[in-house]
């Protein structure tokens, strides 16, 4: 699959029951197909960070950002593709491959070249862990195919922009202070 149309959207969401359902439901209902989705904690307690990869040739990413942003539990969402600063994207992969005495060294060689590691080994199998961008992992999986793949799992992509700034409501995003919050927090100072 060509990767040039892939966009990465990062969302910061309230870590409340049902929030994943809300977001996924919205994405489904509006027909935004997603290639991958990764969810985990963020630097802010109570906020989860979600990373969506979508094919922008199929999905109007601007609409997706705006629609998801409407959810009350979504504090921030942003398309971080094609920004001035480079995006660093990583994914974690675990593959269980068949392995015999004769193929072991060849496999270890591959593991080295890909800066991967072996985390489990038996007389007939090996689990390899690797991280990197999606292209790198795709090519590793392809090469391992020759040895006989038993099982593969991938986390889906996570991503950050280079530089000291964080992705969040204060980065290139207009916010107003609600009247009832006046005197409390400063505009944009949500973190």
């Amino acid at each position: 699959m060509s990767r040039e149309h892939l966009h990465t959207l990062v969302a910061l969401v309230e870590n409340r029951p049902g929030v994943l359902n809300r977001i996924v439901s919205k994405v489904r209902q509006r027909g935004f197909n997603i290639e991958s989705l990764a969810v985990g904690h963020s630097e802010e307690p109570g906020l989860s960070r979600m990373t969506f990869v979508v094919d922008a040739s199929l999905v109007d990413t601007e609409q997706m950002v705006k629609q998801v942003e409407k959810l009350i539990d979504v504090v921030h969402i942003e398309d971080i593709t094609n920004k001035e600063r480079d995006m660093l994207a990583r994914e974690l992969l675990m593959v269980k491959v068949k392995c015999k005495a004769e193929t072991r060294s060849e496999l270890l060689n591959l593991v080295n070249v890909y800066r991967a590691s072996v985390i489990d080994i038996t007389p007939t199998s090996m689990i390899i862990e690797a991280s990197g961008d999606t292209d790198k992992l795709d090519s590793l999986v392809e090469l391992l195919g020759d040895f006989g793949v038993i099982e593969t799992c991938r986390t889906g992509q996570i991503a950050m922009l280079r530089g000291p700034e964080r992705v969040g409501p204060d980065a290139g995003h207009q916010h107003v202070l609600l009247p009832h919050l006046a005197g409390g927090r400063a505009p944009g100072g949500l973190f």
Binding site: N21, Q29, Q63, E69, I72, D73, V75, V176
Partner: protein, 569 residues
């Protein structure tokens, strides 16, 4: 102050100014119902089906310009609300729907009358929440009212397990909400207002498309000022009707599928559309790629997601409409467009879309136009969905701001009866007419009992064409006249109303129309008037589904009529 969950709900409602609740009791909201007696300032109106509770609260919210509240029990009570919630969601109506839920220990265990209503209502609510601890209830309700009524309004559902309604905690009403994921739109950007004004100054053939946002934002005066200062004709979408005076020189009526021919042509000709709180619905635009081919668009909407969703604007103002229009008004200079207005007038003279044909039969449009004449337009009007709805939009001039209530986005048949209920409760001293379809009427007619019970003097006008008329029209035009499942056995509507204790009369010919309307108006209780109208009449102009506005059919094609029509309508 220590209160139980049910009392907390009422304390919150009282602080939010709630005066009326439309609802229906059941096992899971009994503690709430047990509490009404302690809060006599909050009146309960018992509907006969929960769908009506949501519709009545919806129409109540529209005309009272505040949040509508409805109650239902768990399971079937809650699922019965869903159509009404979806209706409010599509039309951006602020509702707070409070459902009782099974006790917390039964949640997720298929308890009796358990339905996952927060899951079910997710796509049709602005927000919803299952409250599992009584300590969280006041905050949840505060947020519910805040979310429902601010920004682009919408329905919020709060699901409260029965045991949470009974648990006791210290009550304190929060004075603020902390929703970091919920931002109200910024004030209008003056630079964008200047840009908009520059486009308006340049335009030779401008149009205003005024939507529901005008009414929600109460931007009546600002809209009128802009239209008059720059002499820009105003087209009102189905939900924009009564946002701009219907008899104003610059008012052009409705666009789109059953819009005025001249409007659809003007949209195809215009060089600038000023879209005010409207969302370029497919019923407005026709085939999107051919919509307004020569126009630049200024799009003002409170919902950022509406901007760029269907059309690409030249200037996008993400803001509340009222201040946005005020900002534009501050920048524009008086202007006139005599040639453009003459062009529209010529189009109008050539295609008088809503001129009434001379017939001996009783035409439904004739009934609507007599209703207008006799009420002098001084009425709140509700409708169902179908042909009668379109005629009610076409043949009545709504001068009174926010006097027109209809199910727009969802197109929910049956809205005509509970809608009128909510309107009359909100406006007890005003005249409410509801123009009903014979089909839609049968979807919610059980509510007639409520009007009699509460002496609500709503005037019902059934335009009985003996058909699911709008569907029949499509079958005639697009399915080779194969009328399938559109002819119904009817009850005797007069007897039906009388069975509920309501006054009722039937009008079968043109000559009886005025007297029927007058008799209904003279009666101080609810009255049903059944108008037995020409069943062959269809609704025009019409843009065939999938066609462009340029392809608007002004006159009924002869093939769809049983008898040939000649002359102009």
């Amino acid at each position: 102050m220590k209160l139980n969950g049910a009392q907390i709900v009422f304390e919150c409602m009282r602080r939010e100014g709630v005066r009326h609740v439309f609802g229906y009791p059941g096992g899971s909201n009994l503690p709430l119902y047990d509490t009404f007696i302690q809060y006599p300032d909050i009146q309960h109106i018992l509907v006969r089906h929960e769908q009506s509770a949501a519709h009545a609260a919806d129409a109540y919210a529209r005309v009272s310009e505040d949040v509508g509240v409805c109650f239902a029990t768990s399971g079937p009570g809650a699922t019965n609300l869903v159509t009404g919630i979806a209706n409010a969601f599509m039309d951006s109506i602020p509702l707070v729907c409070i459902t009782g839920s099974v006790v917390t220990t039964l949640i997720g265990r298929d308890g009796f009358q358990e339905a996952d209503i927060t899951g079910i209502s997710l796509p049709v609510t602005k927000h919803n929440q299952l409250v599992l601890k009584v300590e969280d209830l006041a905050q949840a309700l505060k947020e519910a009212f805040h979310i429902a009524r601010t920004g682009r309004p919408g329905p919020v559902l709060i699901d409260i397990p029965r045991d949470v309604q009974q648990q006791v905690c210290e009550f304190e009403y929060p004075d603020s909400v902390h929703l970091r994921g919920y931002q109200l739109p910024p004030p209008p950007d003056p630079a964008l207002a200047r840009k908009a004004a520059a486009l308006i100054a340049e335009a030779q053939k401008p149009l205003i498309l005024a939507g529901h946002g005008v009414i929600i934002s109460k931007a009546y005066a600002e809209l009128k000022e802009l239209a008059e200062t720059c002499q820009i004709p105003v087209i009102t979408t189905l939900l924009g009707i009564s946002g701009f005076p219907g008899t104003h020189d610059l008012c052009m009526g409705m666009p789109g599928m059953h819009g005025m021919y001249w409007n659809n042509m003007a949209i195809s000709e215009t060089d600038l559309i000023i879209a005010c709180g409207m969302r370029f619905d497919d019923r407005v635009t026709g085939r999107l790629k051919d919509f307004a081919p020569n126009a630049k668009i200024i799009h003002i909407d409170i919902d950022a997601a509406e901007i760029g969703k269907n059309v690409r604007p030249a200037v996008a103002i993400h803001a509340d409409l009222k201040p946005a229009l005020a900002a534009i008004n501050a920048e524009v200079k008086p202007k006139d467009h005599p040639e453009w207005k003459a062009w529209i007038k010529a189009m109008r003279d050539e295609h008088p879309s809503i001129a009434l044909p001379e017939t001996d039969t009783l035409l439904p449009q004739y009934v609507v136009s007599r209703l207008y004449e006799i009420t002098g337009g001084d009425a709140y009007v509700c409708t169902g969905v179908g042909q009668h709805q379109m005629w009610a939009a076409q043949y009545f001039w709504y001068d009174k701001p926010n006097s027109w209530v209809t199910s727009g986005g969802l197109g929910t048949m049956g809205f005509e009866i509970p809608g009128a209920l909510g309107m009359q409760v909100a406006k007890p001293h005003d005249t409410v007419w509801t123009i009903c379809g014979d089909g839609g009427f049968q979807m919610t007619s059980q509510e007639l009992a409520v009007f009699v019970e509460h002496k609500l003097p709503v005037k019902f006008a059934i335009l009985n064409n003996g058909y699911l008329g709008m569907v029949k029209q499509w079958q005639q035009m697009f399915y080779k006249d194969n009328k399938s499942a559109v002819r119904m056995h009817q009850p005797d509507f007069v007897k039906l109303a009388e069975a509920y204790g309501m006054k009722a009369l039937r009008v079968t010919d043109k000559a009886g129309v005025d007297a029927g309307i007058r008799e209904a108006m003279a009666h101080d209780g609810p009255v049903l008037v059944e108008f037995v109208v020409d069943e062959d009449e269809n609704c025009f102009p019409m843009v065939p589904p999938g066609a462009s506005l340029q392809e608007t059919v002004d006159q009924p094609p002869v093939l769809v009529r049983d008898k040939e029509v000649t002359g102009t309508r």
